[in-house]
């Protein structure tokens, strides 16, 4: 399967010459199966460009939302295939204890925040993320709620070629005492990411930022690397870059984290436009 990063930024889009290397668009990742099945992970601003590259002949696209914070849904209304009556679009995401996924999304996709009503889109179906695994084409998808404010899920996408785990907004280190990690049963997201071939994981903060933002639902590079080591991931893509971090800062943070953690797995920068082939190695 092929994984393409269309948006890697967290919190808010941060376009500009100083962020051109890693990109300024917020979370959007395409996972494409050998048979052409497309999963889109999150609908941040990066999904607009993703939509431009989708063939109009494709019959169906599934969008898997981790949660409904603005940086993960802001691009949804600008995703071209939503307006193509020839394409079925299925959106999966967490409902809340009182509102359906559709009702929650409609808070954004309706006037005055957006001119089009969700209900007016031609072939859209919303699915609350089920507690049991589900299949989309060749993909077997597992979900679980993970540590982030509000209902937030992580995804584990299994195919014959390999496993991709996507935990874009995740604070597994919340509550660690003296940096000591608990047993695996007590680590948020452990089963989702276990032995993933490719782990796309939150690495928003520096150590200093994390001290100020404890409980906000994000990780440092070191937390992401320690999590990856515990779950036995083969490769990690640090993701959900802080909007205040320019390219030079992100290069430094990545190099510094590799130097400090000496990871026993592959580390690839989360750069917009990067393509990963899972199952070819």
């Amino acid at each position: 399967m092929r994984v393409t990063l269309f948006g890697t930024r967290g919190s808010v889009a941060a376009p500009g010459p100083e962020t051109a290397g890693y990109g300024g668009n917020t979370s959007a990742v395409e996972v494409c199966g050998k048979d052409g099945t497309i999963l889109v992970l999150d609908a941040g601003t990066g999904i607009r460009r993703l939509g431009l590259q989708v063939l109009s002949s494709i019959p169906r696209i599934d969008i898997l939302l981790t949660h409904l914070h603005m940086d993960h849904i802001q691009g949804l209304g600008f995703f071209g295939p939503l307006y193509n009556p020839g394409i079925e679009v299925h959106i999966w995401g967490p409902s809340s204890s009182t509102l359906s996924l559709e009702a929650r999304l409609s808070r954004y996709l309706s006037p005055p925040l957006f001119p089009v009503h969700l209900r007016d889109l031609p072939r859209l179906t919303c699915h609350p993320v089920p507690r049991t695994p589900f299949d989309v084409g060749p993909f077997h998808v597992r979900t679980a709620l993970i540590c982030h404010p509000g209902p937030t899920v992580g995804y584990r996408i299994e195919a014959k070629e390999g496993i991709v785990a996507y935990l874009s907004d995740h604070e597994p280190a919340l509550g660690l005492r003296n940096g000591q990690w608990p047993g695996k049963d007590w680590i948020s997201g452990y089963d989702l990411a276990m032995e993933a071939d490719l782990l796309i994981h939150d690495a928003q903060y520096t150590d200093e930022q994390y001290k100020r933002c404890l409980g906000w639902g994000h990780s440092t590079y070191q937390h992401a690397f320690e999590f990856a080591a515990r779950v036995g991931a083969k490769e990690i893509i640090p993701f959900h870059h802080d909007p205040s971090h320019d390219d030079a800062t992100l290069d430094f943070l990545l190099e510094e984290a590799v130097r400090r953690c000496q990871p026993g797995f592959k580390v690839s920068g989360g750069r917009e436009g990067a393509v990963f082939e899972v199952g070819l190695s």
Binding site: S95, L145, I146, G175
Partner: protein
């Protein structure tokens, strides 16, 4: 298998409270109790570890205000587990250290976003004599 996030967060919360706190899964298996609970129960969690409901509900000697033994199924946490509703009681408990303490206990179900039953928690207070 990773516990549901609600259980993980509840344990984290318990670790930062001064209130004795006891956490079980939907079948009543003891998952965790915090340091203040260790003082009431008379043994460190590291020593007792995970144990089934039949074991923890009978390991502590519990009597009511009149000195009558409280059957395990009448303990607040067992009521919460079977009826999936909050429960409260006040009784004397003889901890594993042999000390008898007068305690109040409130138990609550832990239900997920879709009302799925994920476990239960009990909080203890020692009654000032």
């Amino acid at each position: 298998m990773t516990h549901p996030i609600q259980i993980i967060l509840t344990r984290q919360l318990a670790g930062y409270l001064s209130v004795p706190f006891f956490l079980v899964d939907p079948k009543g298996k003891l998952l965790f109790y915090n340091e203040p609970a260790e003082a009431v129960l008379g043994r460190r969690f590291d020593e007792t570890g995970v144990m089934p409901a039949e074991e923890w509900s009978s390991i502590f000697t519990v009597v009511d205000d009149d000195g009558r033994a409280v059957p395990p199924n009448d303990l607040p946490l067992m009521i919460t587990l079977t009826k999936r509703r909050p429960a409260y009681s006040r009784f004397f408990i003889k901890g594993l250290d042999g000390v008898v303490r007068h305690v109040e206990v409130a138990a609550i179900p832990i239900s997920g976003l879709q009302d799925e039953f994920l476990g239960a928690a009990a909080m203890f207070w020692e009654v000032p004599e």
